[in-house]
């Protein structure tokens, strides 16, 4: 009897909660989409603004649709207007960034793989202190090293050069790449290495034959992380380079700030998109690895 009572009131409750549930789900989607539009809004505005003429920009609103697919401001942002002095455009700086990113990512990833390998598979006395020693480099505010770095680059004769920036990004990438590889190799069974050692395999042979073939995921994570960090860097780029050796973020900032002529917002937005597109493509294609790097290397911010 009591059981019956219970179940009927339970049914009522279930009926009621069905409506509340439906309402809740609508509310849920409403909030999620609201936030999605907040996040997408600047990207949308950038794209439509870059496709408008200045006339359209003055007449329309932020959200209004461009009259057609007009890529003129993209061409201006990338290749300039073709009159000599004062004509800044992104193409040379884009290549500067490529020339800076590729070696810096390669060196920092390679060094990180090696240190991660030693710290987990060739352990020595005090190795966890060495790891902590390297890890601390993830956290320092770079302001504390800017002054001596500027002097060192000057002393080495590589200030205001791509080589100098490659050195800077390689060095300050090492703590992160070490962290990534160390945490990955920790979970690789050490027995594999021990067995190979008994078979007479040496230090490098074990790395290249056993560790490297299974490292693909962590290499992808590390390369994406380093690529994004270095491509997006502004502090080092703006402090240690200027003029023709500047990377793209510095050039973009200079272009937007230059007050020589009338503000051309469509060109500004096209430039911003060009500077953001490489990392955005990587994010869309390899989001999973991007997020993994973010959650484990995020201490840097």
């Amino acid at each position: 009897m009591q059981d019956n009572l219970k179940s009927s009131s339970y049914q009522q409750l279930e009926q009621k909660s069905k409506y509340t549930n439906m309402f809740l789900r609508w509310f849920l989607y409403f909030v999620l989409i609201l936030f999605a539009s907040y996040f997408i809004f600047p990207l949308y505005v950038m794209v439509v603004t870059s496709l408008k003429t200045m006339e359209e920009i003055r007449q329309g609103t932020l959200l209004s649709w461009p009259s057609g697919l007009n890529f003129e401001s993209w061409a201006v942002a990338w290749g300039g207007r073709g009159y000599g002095a004062g004509d800044t455009f992104l193409k040379p700086y884009f290549w500067n960034s490529i020339k800076m990113v590729v070696p810096a990512v390669f060196f920092s990833t390679f060094i990180g793989a090696m240190t991660g390998y030693v710290l987990t598979k060739w352990r020595f006395k005090g190795d966890s202190w060495v790891f902590l020693f390297l890890l601390f480099g993830c956290f320092i505010p770079f302001q504390a090293i800017l002054l001596p770095m500027a002097r060192t680059l000057g002393a080495l004769g590589i200030s205001n050069s791509i080589v100098g920036l490659v050195l800077v990004h390689t060095v300050y990438g090492i703590p992160f790449t070490t962290l990534f590889f160390r945490n990955y190799y920790v979970s690789v069974p050490t027995e594999l290495v021990k067995a190979a050692r008994i078979d007479g395999a040496g230090f490098f042979k074990i790395f290249f034959k056993i560790l490297l073939p299974i490292s693909a995921p962590i290499i992808v994570v590390t390369v994406i992380w380093q690529f994004t960090q270095i491509w997006n860097d502004f502090l080092f780029g703006s402090t240690f380079s200027f003029g023709e050796a500047a990377p793209i973020q510095v050039a973009l900032n200079n272009m937007v700030l230059s007050s020589t002529s009338v503000k051309e917002y469509n060109v500004d937005m096209a430039s911003a998109i060009i500077a953001g597109v490489p990392t955005l493509i990587v994010y869309v294609l390899a989001g999973k690895y991007f997020i993994r790097g973010l959650t484990s290397g995020a201490v840097k911010g």
Binding site: L62, T115, G137, I145, N232, A272, Y283, L294
Partner: protein
């Protein structure tokens, strides 16, 4: 000889990394610390001068405004990022359709540089052609939104752009945290009659303590170091109303020939970061050792 080489090969391979970090991180920080105790102006001088630069720093109106801005920014940045991040994570955790697409949208700002997003926000927030004009064109004729050029309000535009950039990241951290909780715990709570709200408020969120901690540390770290966004959005202006410590440091060092003063400001930033990071590292290590 060969034997020695073979035996010490791992250490030799480690040496470049340790050497580079030792020199470029520890050596450089110590150098900056030393210079902060000298009376260096355009060029570094090496005779000690005591705490003069720190006294000058804390007597500087610009530095005090920087610190004030940093506190306001950090507080709001933390609150909004964490609240929005948690809401999005919990909502996304409800077996949502198109979760992957939404997640991608929430997180894509993290892939862009602050210069790119700062440029976009500067355009959106500019009073002549941006949001203000949009609302006026829609018929709200008295609508004003001039925060970007308003001394009192400009700092909040940096909050808006900063939160937009980083909230999705907090969402990712919390979503990962929520997904790692075993279903059994939630089921057991539901059998005991707990509603969804209670499950989250009483059980899941308290379990997310480490995630809160991590987000807190990362966000404070981002805000102390924030530099690019301010350069792109306001250059510290109008006037010096949105200046922050990182901007103060680079300006003193590279534009105003106040090398000693900039070193002192860099060391203040260093100490602020250390005050947050050292307890964090300590607790992380303890957790790892406990495992």
């Amino acid at each position: 000889m060969f034997k020695w080489l073979e035996k010490n090969l791992p250490k030799i391979v480690m040496a470049p990394a340790v050497g580079l970090i030792g020199w470029f991180v520890y050596g450089f920080v110590l150098w900056t610390l030393y210079i902060s105790f000298t009376n260096s102006k355009i060029l570094p001088k090496y005779e000690l001068w005591g705490f003069g630069q720190y006294e000058k720093l804390w007597a500087s109106r610009k530095w005090l405004i920087s610190v004030d801005n940093l506190l306001v920014f950090t507080a709001l940045f933390l609150i909004f990022c964490i609240v929005i991040g948690i809401i999005l994570a919990i909502f996304l955790d409800q077996k949502i359709r198109a979760e992957g697409v939404l997640r991608t949208i929430y997180l894509y700002p993290m892939a862009l540089s602050f210069i790119v997003t700062g440029t976009a926000w500067k355009w959106i927030l500019n009073p002549t052609l941006g949001i203000q004009k949009m609302f006026i064109d829609w018929g709200f004729e008295n609508f004003t939104f001039d925060w970007l050029v308003n001394r009192e309000m400009a700092i909040y535009t940096i909050v808006i752009a900063g939160v937009w950039q980083s909230a999705g990241f907090v969402m990712a951290l919390f979503l990962a945290g929520l997904r790692s909780v075993e279903d059994e715990i939630i089921k057991a709570a539901k059998i005991d009659g707990a509603g969804l709200f209670t499950v989250y408020w009483r059980i899941l969120l308290p379990m997310m303590r480490p995630v809160f901690f991590t987000s807190f540390v990362i966000l404070v770290h981002i805000s102390i170091k924030s530099y690019d966004l301010i350069v792109a959005l306001t250059q510290g202006g109008p006037g010096i109303s949105t200046t922050m410590p990182a901007l103060f440091m680079t300006q003193a060092a590279f534009h105003k020939s106040q090398v000693g003063l900039s070193a002192a400001s860099a060391m203040m930033m260093f100490m602020a970061v250390a005050a947050v990071i050292i307890p964090y590292l300590y607790s992380e290590l303890r957790r790892e050792n406990a495992r």
